[in-house]
């Protein structure tokens, strides 16, 4: 029996409306209890938290921590391990390595140090999810979960064609169960199918090859199935045209879809992920501008969507990895360095390219602005999640920087 008493901290508990009250928190056998329930005779570990904040563990809604992509990243980037090593401490602390492609131990330890207790791996192709679970199991300390990618799966595309929503919902619920995943994920909906057949991507109203419907139809069908299934996190969407100038319009159209779906279930209908990557205004890289304001406006007027930032971190070397194989092919041409791509069992595809955000690069600076603009202009911050799409726009260990940027004008000044 373990008993812990956290004394005199400023307690924050949004669910119970507690905002910085100085009070004690008692834990008995892994559960929070009334401090009077602790039995002094059985020994209590007391933690003095005076002057400190006591809050629920952080939740990271989108961080690529496990599965085939991050593991290929580790293989592809030995240079990411050099000078990052930390020996283990016998017998229980394991050796750590890697920055943008950290090994499982560094992931668990670093998240725990930041006070995060639950992290979601946001893109696992169904057939690869056994692998994803192997890695999730190997990450120490924190809780983990995964979103399963369902947008370019052939059986699913057939079900959408057949226009049988019940069967579609049943199929999706089977996928969630079989892969032990938490939520459904769409990555550049339909594009991996177009990539597989024709080596190209799609915008939200382009017709898929072979099938005569559009990515918008995929989003709508699956969002409605998620309503029927009453999933807690309904649908996690990485918008079409990610990484292309002008794509903020596609993001707005994706968000608007949340208003048009048939809602039969509580809560938000759609989550739009890493909006920074799909918040580009302008028609070329040289005329690029932030679409952050428009995205924030849509968020403010549309109560059915939430989003996360995909905040770009200046001067950060990253390893981009997405199930958006088309975009990775484009990025490979920009970087002209290493490129890894893989088609995956008629389920989807993926790509990996190393990248570096530069403080003095115009595009990178605009990327930095987009994330911050969205967060600062949003009225309901409970629907805005801080994330870097680790390790795409920055690392999860960069979060304290983002907190500072959002809370302090001084911190936002580029030196």
């Amino acid at each position: 029996m373990t008993q812990i008493l956290i004394k005199n901290g400023y307690v924050f508990d949004p669910l119970n409306g507690i905002k910085g009250e100085v009070t004690d928190i008692a834990i008995k056998d892994g559960k929070i209890v009334d401090p009077r329930e602790l039995n002094p005779e059985e020994g209590i570990t007391v933690i003095n938290a005076s002057g400190k904040v006591v809050m629920p563990g952080g939740i990271d809604i989108h961080s690529h921590i496990a599965g085939p992509k991050i593991n290929i990243g580790r293989m592809m980037r030995p240079e990411d391990h050099y000078t990052t090593n930390k020996p283990g401490v016998f017998p229980y602390i394991r050796a750590e390595t890697g920055l943008s492609t950290p090994n499982v131990f560094r992931i668990g330890y670093e998240y725990a140090i930041m006070g995060y207790t639950l992290v979601a791996e946001p893109a696992t192709p169904p057939v690869m999810t056994r692998h994803t679970h192997h890695e999730l199991n190997a990450i120490p300390i924190i809780d983990k979960m995964a979103y399963v990618v369902v947008d370019s799966n052939w059986m699913l595309l057939d079900l959408i064609t057949n226009n049988d929503p019940k069967l579609l919902a049943a199929y999706l619920s089977w996928i969630l169960k079989a892969t032990k995943s938490y939520a459904l994920k769409l990555v550049d909906p339909g594009s991996d199918f177009a990539w597989l057949l024709q080596g190209r991507g799609l915008d939200i109203s382009d017709e898929l090859p072979v099938y005569n419907f559009t990515p918008a139809d995929i989003i709508k069908s699956i969002a409605e199935a998620a309503q029927v299934l009453n999933l807690p996190h309904k649908l996690h969407v990485h918008c079409n045209r990610l990484g292309f100038p002008g794509n903020y319009a596609t993001t707005l159209r994706t968000m608007e879809l949340a208003l048009n779906i048939h809602r039969v279930s509580e809560g938000l209908a759609l989550h739009v992920t890493h909006v920074q990557f799909t918040g580009y205004k302008g028609d070329s890289w040289s005329t690029l501008e932030s679409g952050g304001e428009e995205i924030a406006k849509e968020l403010n007027s549309n109560p059915y969507v939430s989003l996360d930032l995909g905040q770009a971190i200046p001067d950060r070397a990253v390893t981009t990895m997405t199930a958006d194989a088309t975009f990775q092919f484009v990025l490979y041409h920009i970087m002209k360095n290493k490129w890894y791509s893989s088609d995956i069992e008629s389920d989807g595809a993926s790509g990996i390219v190393p990248y570096k955000y530069k403080k003095k690069n115009y595009v990178n600076t605009v990327q930095w602005v987009i994330g911050l603009e969205v967060a600062l202009l949003a009225r309901d911050i409970s629907r805005v999640f801080i994330a870097t799409d680790h390790p795409n726009a920055g690392l999860f260990t960069d979060y304290p920087l983002i907190f500072a940027w959002l809370m302090s004008k001084k911190a936002r000044k580029i030196p």
Binding site: M75, T97, H134, W154, S342, D343, E345
Partner: protein, 482 residues
């Protein structure tokens, strides 16, 4: 029989009247510690209730056929439907030549001991070693791989798997340039051009063709709609069924790959013959590749282990990257052991490196040619070895094997092998995929569930259970020593 290798010596194979070399003689030549291994010990079979188990995955090669139907009566496997000849033989003979008890070596004899004694002796060997090697993995589940790597880390030793001498160069090429890969289903449904380069699935992955090339796919007909090209140093059986066979000079594939890239980039090839291949043929092949709708190069050790090693694979990766400017093209490394891919994967998520991982400094390092198992043994760098589910004595060079005769060796294996004759401690394990469950990764990285269809012999544990016990003991002994 006469084999004629282009540019190399002629090799003659003749019948002989000399007596067959005995096992004891072979062991003597290799300077084994024990000349008599108690092989011939089978699990006693009892007939009984008949059961048919479906969708069983085959624990032999990285094709990992997972559609076998296995028929069992009692503990006797009587039928394997769907498996190739190798598979049938492994399943129907699973009970033969099994190690049924733990042993330790006393002088030149293996003596039966309890599991406790064997584990204790093994832990002593490992804790007293300055720099132990753990080798093998890959013929077992990823769970076992994970424990083996943890043990190496605790001991500050080295841990390696067989990619060290098969597809290691594929990993090295990915480290350098990346690559473009694919999976079986995409090949079946889309591939209209399949090039087998330095690989021969007819002999190595017997079901590969009937599974991936012959069937009709969603966007392509069967074999007749796919062009098959074979590139090899000699006319293999596979070459005879190909639409085009290209004979390349041994060890010079990288020149041909470079020439293909030149042809693709419209550069003039000035020589009229590249690595034994006429220039026109190079242009023809480049054209075929660029005009395919979905092309795949399935390559084997003919590319990875042909002298320039990862330079060939690196050039191959660049070739497919270039081809993606024109069309869809990918590679498929024809991996060998059924879970060698899984041992790379587990090693990557735990240590950041796919094989040849060293923990001498407490963190992971990988130096090919230094921390690779073969080099550690040949250079005499390691002072103890733990071999999990492998038979290095049967496949390693003489000098490496000799070192195994000089250092204490622990073997964890279901069956007697040449390596057991070099062991100081032998701990029997159940067979993964038959007696123990777990996961293994197919050659295209798809993880497959390996089933348990029979109980291991009485008192015999699965290898991951043994490693877990060994880890606990090593921790206790090291804490005790400190």
């Amino acid at each position: 029989m006469e084999f004629h290798h282009l540019g190399t010596k002629k090799i003659f194979v003749d019948t002989t009247t000399e007596p067959v070399t005995s096992l004891e003689e072979i062991l003597r030549i290799l300077s084994a510690k024990v000349l008599q291994i108690p092989h011939g010990t089978d699990i006693p079979l009892k007939s009984g209730e008949k059961r048919i188990i479906e969708n069983v995955a085959c624990p032999i090669c990285a094709e990992l056929c997972d559609y076998l139907k296995i028929e069992i009566t009692g503990n006797r496997i009587v039928r394997n439907i769907g498996g190739c000849a190798k598979s049938v033989s492994k399943f129907l003979n699973y009970h033969k030549d099994r190690i049924l008890k733990p042993y330790i070596r006393i002088n030149d004899k293996l003596v039966e001991v309890s599991l406790e004694e064997a584990l204790d002796k093994a832990a002593d060997i490992l804790v007293n070693a300055k720099y132990p090697l753990i080798y093998g993995l890959s013929i077992t589940s990823v769970k076992t791989d994970e424990y083996a790597i943890q043990l190496a880390e605790l001991l500050r030793g080295a841990v390696d798997n067989p990619s060290t001498f098969c597809h290691g160069p594929t990993s090295l090429a990915v480290q350098e340039v990346g690559g473009v890969f694919t999976t079986f289903s995409d090949v079946i449904n889309l591939a209209d051009l399949v090039i087998f380069w330095g690989s021969d699935p007819i002999n190595s992955h017997v079901n590969h063709l009937s599974r991936n090339i012959v069937p009709k796919g969603r966007f392509i007909g069967g074999r007749k709609d796919r062009k098959i090209v074979v590139i090899d140093i000699r006319r293999t059986e596979l070459a005879n069924m190909a639409d085009l066979f290209i004979q390349v000079k041994p060890g010079r594939d990288v020149e041909l790959i470079t020439a293909l890239r030149m042809a693709l980039h419209d550069l003039d090839i000035e020589v009229d013959n590249v690595a034994g291949v006429p220039r026109d043929m190079v242009y023809k092949l480049a054209d075929m590749m660029a005009s395919a709708k979905y092309g795949v190069i399935m390559y084997g050790l003919g590319i990875t282990e042909n002298g320039v090693k990862h330079r060939s694979v690196e050039e191959l990766m660049k070739l497919v990257q270039d081809l993606n400017e024109y069309t869809k093209f990918a590679v498929m490394p024809m991996r060998g052991h059924y879970n060698v891919v899984g041992s790379n994967e587990a090693s990557l998520w735990l240590t950041g490196y796919p094989y040849a991982v060293d923990f001498a400094r407490g963190f992971s390092r990988m130096y090919v040619g230094v921390t690779t198992a073969m080099d550690l043994l040949i250079n005499g760098d390691v002072d103890a070895a733990l071999i999990v589910g492998h038979d290095p004595v049967a496949s390693f060079p003489r000098k490496a094997v000799q070192h195994l005769s000089r250092i204490p060796v622990i073997v964890i294996d279901p069956k007697w092998s040449l390596t057991t004759a070099f062991a100081d401690v032998i701990i029997p394990s159940g067979m993964t995929g038959i007696e123990c469950e777990g996961s293994a990764y197919r050659m295209d990285k798809i993880p497959i569930r390996m089933k348990k269809i029979l109980d291991p012999p009485p008192g015999v544990l699965c290898d991951y259970e043994i490693l877990k016990l060994l880890i606990d003991r090593v921790i206790n002994k090291k804490v005790g020593k400190a």
